[in-house]
């Protein structure tokens, strides 16, 4: 009965994630309304009619805005996961391969140091240096993701290094780099997929927060966080302008988290062994 529930979570999560992705992709070629212009006559319309999700304070169609905003939010979060994994995974593999050695110690201490800079603080620093932009938000989140992936990779790899099949590879003359690539990485891949999903979800939350305080995507680029910042002064007059982008964030993040949990259970060999 538990596996069934998780299967449901997996499907629901994948569906929510797919909807967000589809909105972002469709917005590249088509949106219900043009959102570059201002239509003061139709400002702050409640949901329904021609504008299924209503309009904002400039009369822009909220559905179109959410679709285009998905593009910013998803691409920033996804690329931040890419940065984190591309740098963090090799570092984690190297740390595990030299377990207990100076390289391991150096990588882990450097990771601790990066952890002392939450993505928001990194974004503040980068913005202070280079000015605000979506790319800077991505970089800030990506940098924070690096030690996350390094730690998960190392934690997954360390117990593997004590196993006899690694001994067998060593007496077959394989060095640490080849063993990491052939034996360790494939066996921590499922952990990394799950962590990637979680960091993707966290990235969407972080991007929204950064854009909300003005450290991320800049006008006129719509993003879910920017839409909420715009909505703040309007929220008592027309709550839907805050509710719509907020729900977009919640549903996407919820979907990705359900997907991550579902994948974890589906890929966990201990759980699988129990089921067969």
């Amino acid at each position: 009965m538990i596996p069934g529930r998780h299967r449901m979570g997996l499907v629901a999560g994948a569906a929510l994630g797919a909807i967000a992705l589809a909105m972002a992709l469709v917005s590249l070629v088509w949106t219900p309304f043009d959102v570059t212009g201002v239509d003061v006559a139709n400002r702050l319309l409640p949901p329904g009619g021609a504008h299924p999700l209503g309009t904002d304070h400039l009369g822009r169609d909220l559905l179109s805005m959410v679709m285009i905003g998905a593009r910013t939010s998803l691409s920033v979060a996804l690329l931040a996961v890419g940065i984190g994994a591309a740098v963090g995974v090799p570092l984690g593999l190297a740390a595990a391969a030299s377990r207990g050695g100076w390289l391991d110690e150096a990588i882990m201490r450097a990771g601790d140091l990066v952890f002392a800079f939450p993505a928001l603080v990194t974004a503040i620093l980068i913005t202070a240096a280079l000015g605000p932009s979506a790319a800077n938000a991505m970089l800030a989140i990506g940098i924070f993701n690096i030690p996350v992936f390094a730690r998960v990779t190392r934690a997954g790899a360390l117990p593997l290094w004590t196993l006899d099949y690694i001994r067998a590879a060593e007496i077959s003359g394989k060095g640490p780099a080849r063993i990491s690539a052939e034996h360790i990485l494939p066996n921590v891949a499922s952990l990394l997929i799950v962590q990637g999903t979680i960091q993707f979800a966290l990235g969407i939350l972080a991007e929204a927060g950064l854009s909300y305080v003005g450290l991320g995507a800049q006008p006129p680029t719509p993003s879910w966080g920017r839409m909420l910042a715009d909505a703040q002064t309007m929220v008592t007059l027309a709550p839907h302008v805050a509710v719509v982008p907020g729900l977009a964030i919640v549903l996407t993040v919820l979907g990705l988290n359900l997907l991550g949990d579902g994948l974890r259970d589906a890929l966990d060999p201990r759980l699988k062994a129990r089921l067969t």
């Binding site: 002392a116 939450p118 928001l120 979800a201 927060g209 305080v213 964030i249 919640v250």
Partner: protein, 310 residues
């Protein structure tokens, strides 16, 4: 071992300060031009540069800044011409209590929920608690804060919608921090409850739990006396990390409630390109995170005898 940990702490603080200094110092643009305007005469600019120490080589500037930090002198704000240390101290009085209130609230909610879910694993209470946690984790705290304002301040008028009266009236000050603290705490409580539940379930499957049952302890006794303390180790890790999220979250959420905390100070400073303030405020935030991590490390040793004397 304490000496080694203290040495690492000092090293981390020094390296972090160097990183912050390097990033801010790389900023293109001349603070002197910013202060005096683009029309200023070259000799007045040069005089101000000298006064600010901008003509010195960077190692000297870094040493001066670090020396100042150690003696409590964080420099002078370019925009307000006021000592930065005093400005930051004022703002910390809002941000720190907010983060601590949120942390306390998150623990107070997560502890019973996590224990309940673990002890009722697979039953409706577990499913309900974990379903709620799933939604809680997905909530952006600043958006949740807006909804709280809408309901509890605008509609029900129970609590203020924003602003901060200062600590001269502690009750009013606390009332002003309730909604921000709740908005910050609940998403973190959701994460904490999930971590606690899975840590408890993991420990409940250990051999020593079976040994404890074999000597006659009931399920509830085993959970309280053996599983909870062992599960605390992963929970502590998350708790330490959560403090940094809460601090960052507090900075964002101050915007929703117009609270005069560190966050508002930093964002104003960024828009005014008041880099002295940005540099020092960021250092304070990062130092706080590093200190909390250090305290968590000490807490590990207090919980786990295997780590003592290392």
């Amino acid at each position: 071992m304490l000496a080694r940990r203290l040495a690492l702490l000092a090293l981390a603080l020094v390296v972090a300060s160097a990183v912050i200094f390097a990033v801010v110092d790389l900023v293109p643009g001349d603070p002197a031009v910013f202060v005096l305007g683009t029309g200023a005469r070259p000799d007045t600019l040069a005089a101000l540069r000298q006064q600010l120490g901008l003509d010195l080589p960077w190692p000297t500037r870094y040493a001066r800044w670090l020396g100042g930090v150690l003696t409590g002198d964080l420099g002078t704000s370019l925009a307000y011409k006021a000592p930065v240390a005093g400005m930051i101290l004022d703002r910390v009085q809002v941000s720190l209590p907010l983060a601590l209130m949120a942390l306390g609230l998150a623990v107070a909610v997560a502890l019973p929920v996590g224990m309940l879910a673990a002890s009722r694993r697979g039953r409706p209470a577990d499913a309900l608690a974990m379903g709620a946690a799933q939604v809680g984790i997905a909530l952006p705290n600043f958006w949740f804060a807006m909804l709280l304002v809408l309901v509890f301040a605008v509609k029900l008028r129970w609590l203020p919608a924003g602003g901060f009266p200062g600590w001269s009236d502690p009750l009013a000050a606390l009332r002003a921090l309730v909604l921000p603290a709740v908005a910050l705490a609940l998403p973190q409580a959701a994460i904490l409850a999930r971590v606690l539940r899975s840590a408890l379930i993991e420990t409940l499957g250990q051999d020593y739990i079976r040994s404890a049952r074999a000597k006659g302890l009931s399920r509830a006794q085993v959970l309280r006396r053996h599983a909870l303390r062992n599960a605390l180790i992963p929970v502590l890790t998350i708790l330490g990390m959560q403090f940094s999220f809460l601090l960052a979250g507090a900075i964002i959420i101050e915007n929703v409630f117009y609270l005069p905390g560190l966050g508002r100070l930093i964002f104003q400073a960024i828009s005014q390109r008041d880099l002295v303030v940005v540099q020092s405020a960021v250092l304070v935030l990062v130092a706080a995170v590093i200190l909390v991590t250090f305290l968590v490390d000490l807490a590990y040793a207090a919980v786990d005898p295997r780590l003592r004397g290392r």
